[in-house]
Amino acid sequence: MSPDGNSAPAHAPAHAPGHGGGAHPAQEGPRGVAAPGTVHVSHDHHELGFLRKYVFSVDHKVIAIQFMLTGLFFLVLGGLFAMAIRHQVAWPWKPIPGLSVLFPDTGGVISPEFYTMLFTMHGTIMIFFVIIPLLTGAFGNFLIPLMVGAPDMAFPKLNMFGYWAMIPAIFFALLGFFVEGGAAAAGWTAYPTLSTIATAAPGSLTGQTWWLMALTWVGVSSMMGAVNYVTTIFKMRAPGMTMMRMPLSIWGLLIAALLQLFALPVLTAASILQLLDRTLHTGFFTPSNLLVNATRPELLSNAGAALDGASGGHPLLWQHLFWFYSHPAVYIMVLPAMGFASDILSTHARKPVFGYKPMVYSMSAIAGLGFIVWGHHMFTSGMNPALGMSFMVATIMIALPSAVKVFNWIGTLWGSRIHLNSAMLNALAFVAMFIIGGLSGIWMAATPVDIYIHDTYIVVAHFHYVVFAGSVFAIWAAIYHWFPKMFGRQMNETLGKVHFIGSFVFTNGVFYMMHQIGLAGLMRRTADPYTYATYAHLQESNELITLCAFALFVWQIFFVINFFHSMFWGKRVGRNPWRANSLEWEAPSPPGHGNFDRELAVYRGPYEYGSPEVSEDYLPQTRKLGDGAARPAQAHAHH
């Protein structure tokens, strides 16, 4: 079926009264209360207590906001870690002003041990506690029922459990800093044997164990979410909402959830194996006969006569298992962002998404290929080089669907009418900078080049352009765009623009130069690069990058002010402030329990902006046109 096919749904209920034309955005339903007599309202509406309503809520919208506030809090914490990392790289072993409170014995100087913990926890927090919870936990939860026209998630209690599984995860992740030896220090990739042998690093005493516990609980949370998202999207769409009429945000979230479902069990199994290696001294990832810190590690296979010969496990096994999840995780972190960007570009450019089907196919291709490219993290790992070749080909080809998506975004903007509000600016910046992140990946896929640039700052530049300049800008765009639906109020445009301009300038200030210092050979995770003559001349560039990073961090104050101020005192808006087409704008702002106060029937795809069939420049998915009007559109629909 064409996404803009105008055929009436098979089980379409009679179209809701008072539902046509330009008058409808002005209609404001009673806030928080669903109108009686609609099919979707099956919940009883006795007033819930504060705890049930805001803390142990089963409402997908409340859970979404819980995920969002948690994610934003950890964004600040992970950002602070990044600032400390940048300070150390620019001015190694110089005290950080004000940090002497935390480190009285060093006078505010970061110790090399603490530096390894900083970047380990920066990566862990940003990936598992910020990007994934914000994209799938916050927006996945908020948007999926609203955009497919469902009253809530398929399993609301499971959904609540999904958020509450984050609490032990957070506890364990932070606990590391308060145990002997400190937090995990083996990098967010936790490569054995640094991670499995207690004597290999201070953070491997017990911090690494808590890190693994945290990872397992995050996995439980993601899994609960993914099960819910997939079920809701497959089983609870409103009448007429065919798969090919779903907004691309929903496609992105669906594909990300499928990736979680298939890849996450592998990581969970791997982290349990690593837990066994650490606690019961099994040897899944630890070869016997090692000599760490002048001691033989405690290992079952080292007992007795087994001291000679290479027995025991293999460190590369962990790398395979870890990247089998963590490479798809990169796409979990970007596919929903791509979906949001598509929706936001189309809505604020007042033009249909260019090539809806190619967009869906390329997202699916990214997800499919995403399962067979994990080995490109291991070109220099000691893996069989012939295997490297096959991973290389798959990796090179995954650039293709990403390129198709970029071309389609530009196609969407071509001939459009762009409204440059905060949401649109951030979505444009997402496209502009995702291009950089995507293109630099080609160097990494080229195996001989990767031998040189593997683990250098050019890799750091690459994945920050994808995950920060890409996903985080898309998250900002999504917050500006859907904030009115979440809180019934709009964010301040002036503050939004001020936030955008500084973030855009400083983001590039931080990450662009990393390409060049990476080419000069600078390795990541190096506490004091200037130990090496090769890096001695890179300090100036690192200072510039660090100054930009500080500015970028401080600049976020504009976002924080805007977010919380607008939540309580922002401009009130009606149901559909952006004059958008998709279903969430049919619900009151904010939607009450059960979401919709009238029956929904979907007649077309979500991107009919600028349609010649109506006088306005938008045509909501639910609006039924007369038969006469529908016919010319049929011809038009088959491009």
């Binding site: 090179i396 390129a403 001020v498 690069p529 090769t534 600028g610």
Partner: protein, 294 residues
């Protein structure tokens, strides 16, 4: 990075800050103009930085290997392809923001896509990507595939010049005794310094005692993880006499940053002399610690 130099750069930084402030106060009023300029600055500054980078010293370190040429030319091939795509897509984006704003009368162009365009912009990148995929195979094989390694030199996989052993946070190069045996008290141990003859195919074995490390020679474009439990054969040929950084490139613990070794490339006679001197010093008392060695 001359503009950052404090002697002449303070004014540049001040100018940058003033410019930023100017953008800031006028951005809200002139959003479209500034958005066009800012997105346009991405490819302009982006390309400019890459052009100027070699001048600033922010480019590959000097190549003194036989591996480097193939790798560097592959990098440059991709650089050109990437640069062209980067500029074209950003220009398209800038043009859209510049041209198609909300003051233009009428509705936007009502189109859902074009099959023809999709075919074109799938096929062209596909061909370009296949070119990249095939262009790299030769170089990778030469570096990594044992059956493509040069033969006929003094060293081979089974007769390596040395075993390179990584451990927290040091490098130990073990050269075989005069009979070619590594299982001997007369093994020559050279901590941190990997001494090799110039213009010779150097084959060596890489090992780790404890955790992952990575053997990285920036000037020879060579990097390989050292994996506990594995013995990994490697080869390179240095083309210039000199001393080069040997860097640990895989996180190996708190001292990762200071696990600095050296590659010392000597002329062939100098290398033979160094080896002979080491042997002579050992003659009386072999010192190699066999138990902890590898």
């Amino acid at each position: 990075m001359s503009f950052l130099n404090p002697s002449n750069g303070a004014w540049s930084i001040l100018a940058l800050l003033v410019a930023l402030l100017l953008v800031l106060v006028t951005f809200v009023k002139f959003t479209r103009l500034w958005t066009v300029i800012l997105i346009a600055l991405l490819p302009i500054l982006g390309v400019w930085t890459f052009v100027k980078a070699p001048e600033w010293g922010l480019w590959f370190p000097k190549d003194v290997s036989t591996h480097g040429a193939g790798m560097d030319s592959l990098f440059n091939l991709i650089l050109w392809m990437v640069a062209i795509t980067f500029v074209l897509t950003e220009v398209g984006l800038v043009w859209c923001v510049f041209r198609y704003h909300d003051k233009v009368p009428g509705k936007s162009l009502f189109t859902h896509g074009s099959h023809k365009l999709e075919m074109i912009w799938t096929a062209i990148p596909a061909v370009a990507l296949l070119v990249i995929a095939f262009a790299q195979i030769g170089t990778f094989k030469q570096i990594k595939f044992e059956d493509h390694w040069p033969t006929g030199g003094p060293y081979s996989k089974d007769k390596p010049i040395a075993h390179v052993i990584a451990y927290q946070f040091a490098w130990l190069m073990r050269y075989p005794d005069a009979n070619g045996s590594f299982d001997s008290v007369d093994v020559i141990e050279s901590p941190f310094d990997f001494v090799v003859p110039v213009d010779t195919d150097i084959m060596f074995q890489l090992k780790s005692r404890d955790v992952l490390h990575s053997f990285f020679l920036p000037n020879l474009r060579l990097k390989q993880d050292a994996v506990p439990g594995m013995t990994i054969p490697m080869w390179f040929q240095a083309t210039e006499v000199g001393e080069y950084d040997l860097i640990c490139a895989e996180l190996c613990g708190w001292g990762h940053y200071k696990m600095a070794g050296r590659l010392i490339v000597k002329s062939k006679p100098d290398y033979e002399k160094w080896l002979a001197d080491k042997r002579a010093a050992l003659k009386s008392n072999g010192t190699a610690d066999l138990e902890a060695a590898e």
